[in-house]
């Protein structure tokens, strides 16, 4: 038995959904181009992208190039820009998946540089091998600092990383390991350290044999003189890992759980390909549930990048410092709330909804129409025309009938309010600004 594959028609609606789920939404013309490839061709084009190329204008906040390793906020802007300009949307999206999976917060001096270096590492492994990725993360400097790996040494074990390696990264809470395993795992992970701290942060990360506990450990039912590589292998080979991995990866693309049969097939696929990520992602992206199931709330970073891509313009706002982007929407890049990553069940509440409003406003404000400079705006523009014009601003995304009807009601109400001659034009200009915001924050804009 194989993993089920979607066999319905693959038209613009399906291509549009795939572009959102596996990337950051469509740019002009991408929906049609992807639909023309058919399902298999479309998925393959995402999982086997051309050589990386960033096209379009680079952000130049305050007129200068980004300095993401140093300047506050520039790291988030740097990554958002990649999401906007990349020709490898799935690679970028998987990097975001791993950032959430192995969530790290920068600490101490160098707190921006090391997560940035980690980000490059995650991108290299985006569609690679999970076992290799987990080992890289285990000795990644940003992670070693964040979860106390550099403090974990022979005779003075620190449980911080070993616990999360099993609980959050590979097995799931309480899923087949004990508190004793946590402590023994910590011993296996001893030995990492750094040489010195400078203004650039901690430097000279290395494995020091003298700090490693060479004794025998009993971990997950096996006994041996285990080290960090063994710790990762023991976790990844544990029977609980496959279902944990597949379900967690699946939940990044599809909001309903896999049927038990599908889960089993995906786990078999994952194990038979020796923890390769790409075949599992391909199977998920071709699964009927992605196309036939309900809509999914977009992560805030995807929402933001998608709005900019729709404008077809890159991040050109000179005023953006990056520091003010994203926090209130619930997902500031490089700043997950904690090691378990973001809480997707809370992507939308009244607080983050306002945060998304601010993101949309920031993106749209560059293009706001001032009544003073638009005295020739059509004073008799009707509601339908006004809505179409605002839709075109965002690259004409698909709107539901319900939203469209309500927006026309709004437009008509504004026109009625303009009951004095001198307001007719000014209100229509203002109405256009408001319609852009109402479209960008309508339910279909938050979901795909």
């Amino acid at each position: 038995m194989a993993v089920p594959t979607y066999s319905g028609s693959f038209g613009p609606a399906e291509a549009e959904r795939l572009l959102w789920r596996a990337g950051f939404g469509p740019k002009q013309g991408e929906i049609e181009a992807l639909a023309a490839k058919g399902l298999a061709g479309a998925v393959s084009s995402l999982t086997n992208p051309p050589r990386e190329k960033l096209t379009g204008p680079q952000p130049r906040p305050d007129g200068r190039s980004l300095n993401p390793a140093v300047t506050s906020g520039h790291n988030a802007l740097w990554w958002l820009d990649r999401m906007v300009r990349t020709n490898q949307p799935l690679v970028e999206r998987m990097t975001l998946v791993w950032h959430d999976w192995f969530a790290t917060r920068g600490v101490g001096p160098g707190k921006r540089r090391m997560p940035l270096e980690q980000n490059y590492m995650l991108r290299r492994h985006a569609l690679g091998n999970f076992r290799a990725l987990a080992l890289e993360v285990t000795r990644d400097p940003a992670m070693l600092l964040f979860l106390s790996g550099v403090h974990n040494r022979m005779g003075k074990p620190n449980e911080n990383y070993g616990r999360e390696l099993m609980e959050l990264f590979t097995l799931g809470a309480g899923n087949g390991y004990s508190e004793r395993d946590v402590r023994e795992q910590a011993r296996a992970l001893t030995g990492y350290t750094f040489t010195r701290v400078t203004s650039r942060g901690h430097e000279g990360f290395r494995y020091d044999k003298r700090r490693h506990d060479p004794g025998r450990k009993r971990i997950l039912g096996k006994t041996g003189r285990f080290d960090a590589r063994d710790a990762v292998d023991l976790a990844v080979r544990h029977p609980a890992h496959g279902p944990f991995f597949v379900t967690k990866l699946w939940s990044a693309f599809i909001p309903t759980p896999p049927e038990p049969g599908t889960l089993g097939e995906l786990v078999s696929l994952y194990r038979s390909r020796r923890y390769a990520v790409k075949p599992v992602v391909e199977a998920i992206l071709k699964h009927p549930d992605l196309y036939q199931g309900p809509r999914m709330v977009k992560p805030p970073a995807v929402y933001a990048a998608g709005l900019i891509r729709a404008l077809g313009d890159g991040i050109t706002q000179r005023s953006w410092s990056g520091a003010d982007y994203g926090g209130d929407s619930g997902q500031r890049l490089f700043d997950p709330p904690n090691v378990s990553g973001w809480d997707e069940s809370s992507w939308l509440d009244t607080g983050t909804f306002q945060g998304r409003w601010k993101v949309a406003r920031l993106i749209a404000s560059e293009y706001s129409l001032s009544p003073g400079e638009n005295r020739d705006y059509p004073a008799n523009e009707d509601g339908d025309t006004a809505v179409n014009r605002a839709l075109a601003f965002w690259g004409s995304p698909t709107l539901t009938r319900e939203t469209r009807r309500t927006l026309i009601e709004f437009a008509d109400a504004c026109a009625r309010d303009a009951n004095v001659e001198y307001l007719r034009t000014a209100y229509r200009v203002s109405r256009q600004n408001a319609l852009r915001m109402l479209i960008a924050t309508a339910p279909e804009s938050h979901t795909s």
Partner: protein, 471 residues
């Protein structure tokens, strides 16, 4: 250096389901077949996955007009009793807040972290303990009889995962797959379907303890910044925008797609919330007392004024103002300053975090008193667990069990609940044994403060004892 691993995420539902499936099973050996379902519980997945969080947060079916009317009606109902929940994230070190300097094992277990003998004031209910100097304001409230201390609260079989243990506290049960928070279920019981302000999280995101099954609840990052404005949107057009923003959401309340329904109901709730908070954006909040980080002696807060950028004091000041204005809040939830997951170099962050927490709570209490609200508000302070009795080799502490808890207010009895269990008899993991139970505490709050049937909110409530909490 900080050392964090806290909070919730999408992976939460995985962990919960996994925890549930794995619990009670023998240790799984490599090669041994996993039990059916392997940590996957369809219900947990569905309830916690993004698209279907609506069953938790977006259950309401009412439009903006009905919500506005509902809020107004709740407001006219007069002053309800209020519970404020304050979460200390990461597992606060109870042994440092109330240091057992009189316990002979203390200095051996905490060679670098122990409080020097003469520092801090003695805890008058147990002479083995001293208040850490950074918690002096809590000691002051305790001396006034306005602070009840739980020196070691927890539950049987303590879980040392931040996320699982926090989840237990949030749902009010030792259950991995309970989808609603205990405060949310209380609001389902006594609240209304037309007042999203009845449960208000003043945080970046909604507090899971407020997750209700039926009635709406809401979240706002700041009391003084809940606006929906845009450049060159003005006068009548802005008024219409504020009218139609929730209406666009409302148009989807009948949608067959759960994610559209969820997004729609959130927009509708946001309209009602803006109606209540919008006015504070223009005029800010004037407090009768000075909160930590306030710039002027006048006690005016807003516009991001806060200690070290932490919004906790500002949010408390805003909450007091909302209650004073009669905004119909029954339960509010906030997260305290800082990160208590102090695996290394604990001393670097612990003092400033606890001080800001204690000073802010003190200011809030004085604020309530000055506004004449103190008799109808109590504050519950909690953390997902305490920390290991023995410090680790990194001048920090690993995850523990029994943790600290407080109840603050003029109506609380101010008598210790449980006792400090001592460092001689730690549990097999080397952690403090708990001497009070969070489910018993919740049941007591529900019955004695809210005068509600605890059995309708807390699973198996009758199984737990009760504490005398209220005067």
């Amino acid at each position: 250096m900080a050392l964090h691993c806290r909070n919730f995420s999408r992976t939460q539902f995985l962990r919960e389901a996994a925890a549930e499936a794995g619990r009670g099973l023998p240790n799984v050996e490599p090669g041994m077949p996993m039990p059916a379902g392997t940590g996957l519980d369809r219900r947990s997945f569905v309830l916690r996955s993004a698209g279907l969080a609506l069953s938790v947060y977006g259950g309401q079916k009412l439009g903006f007009d009905a919500l506005s009317a509902g809020v107004a009606q709740a407001q006219s109902g007069g002053g309800q009793r209020v519970l404020v929940s304050v979460f200390l994230e990461g597992g606060a070190d109870s042994i440092s807040i109330l240091a057992p300097t009189g316990d002979p094992r203390y200095r051996r277990l905490r060679p670098t972290l122990a409080l020097p003998g003469s520092k801090g004031s003695p805890f008058r209910e147990d002479r083995r303990l001293r208040w850490h100097p950074v918690a002096a304001k809590l000691a002051a409230l305790h001396a006034e009889g306005k602070l009840t201390v739980m020196p070691s609260i927890g539950y049987e079989g303590p879980d040392q995962s931040h996320f699982t243990s926090r989840h237990f506290y949030e749902v009010g049960a030792r259950q991995a797959n309970l989808p609603t928070g205990w405060l949310g279920r209380y609001l389902d019981l006594v609240g209304t379907p037309d007042n999203p302000l009845q449960g208000l999280a003043l945080n970046r995101q909604l507090a899971p303890s407020l997750a209700a099954g039926r009635n709406p609840v809401s979240a706002a990052n700041s009391v003084t910044d809940y606006t929906y404005t845009a450049p060159f949107v003005f006068d009548d057009v802005e008024r219409r925008l504020h009218q139609y923003l929730p209406k666009v959401g409302e148009a989807h309340l009948g949608s067959s797609d759960p994610a559209l329904r969820e997004a729609g109901s959130i927009a509708s709730d946001a309209g009602a919330l803006r109606g209540q908070l919008g006015r504070y954006a223009a005029r800010g909040v004037r407090s009768p007392v000075i909160y930590p980080g306030s710039k002027s002696g006048a006690g005016s807060v807003g516009g991001g004024v806060g200690a070290g950028g932490d919004m906790f004091p500002e949010r408390l000041a805003g909450l007091a103002a909302l209650l004073d204005a009669g905004v119909p809040i029954r339960v509010a939830a906030l997260t305290g300053p800082g990160d208590h997951d102090t695996h290394a170099q604990q001393a670097k962050s612990f003092g400033s975090d606890v001080k800001l927490t204690a000073d802010s709570l003190f200011a809030f209490q004085r604020d309530l008193e000055a506004r004449g609200l103190a008799d109808r508000v109590i504050v519950h302070v909690w953390s997902e667990f305490g920390r290991r009795a023995q410090e680790n080799g990194s001048k920090g502490t690993d995850h523990g069990a029994g943790g600290i808890g407080f109840l603050m207010g003029t109506q609380v009895r101010g008598k210790m609940i449980g006792e400090f269990p001592g460092l001689a008899k730690l549990d097999p993991q080397g952690n403090l044994r708990s001497t009070s139970d969070f489910r018993a505490l919740y049941s007591s709050i529900l019955e004695q403060w809210f005068e509600t049937d605890a059995g309708a909110v807390i699973p198996d409530a009758s199984r737990f004892g009760r504490y005398a909490l209220i005067k």
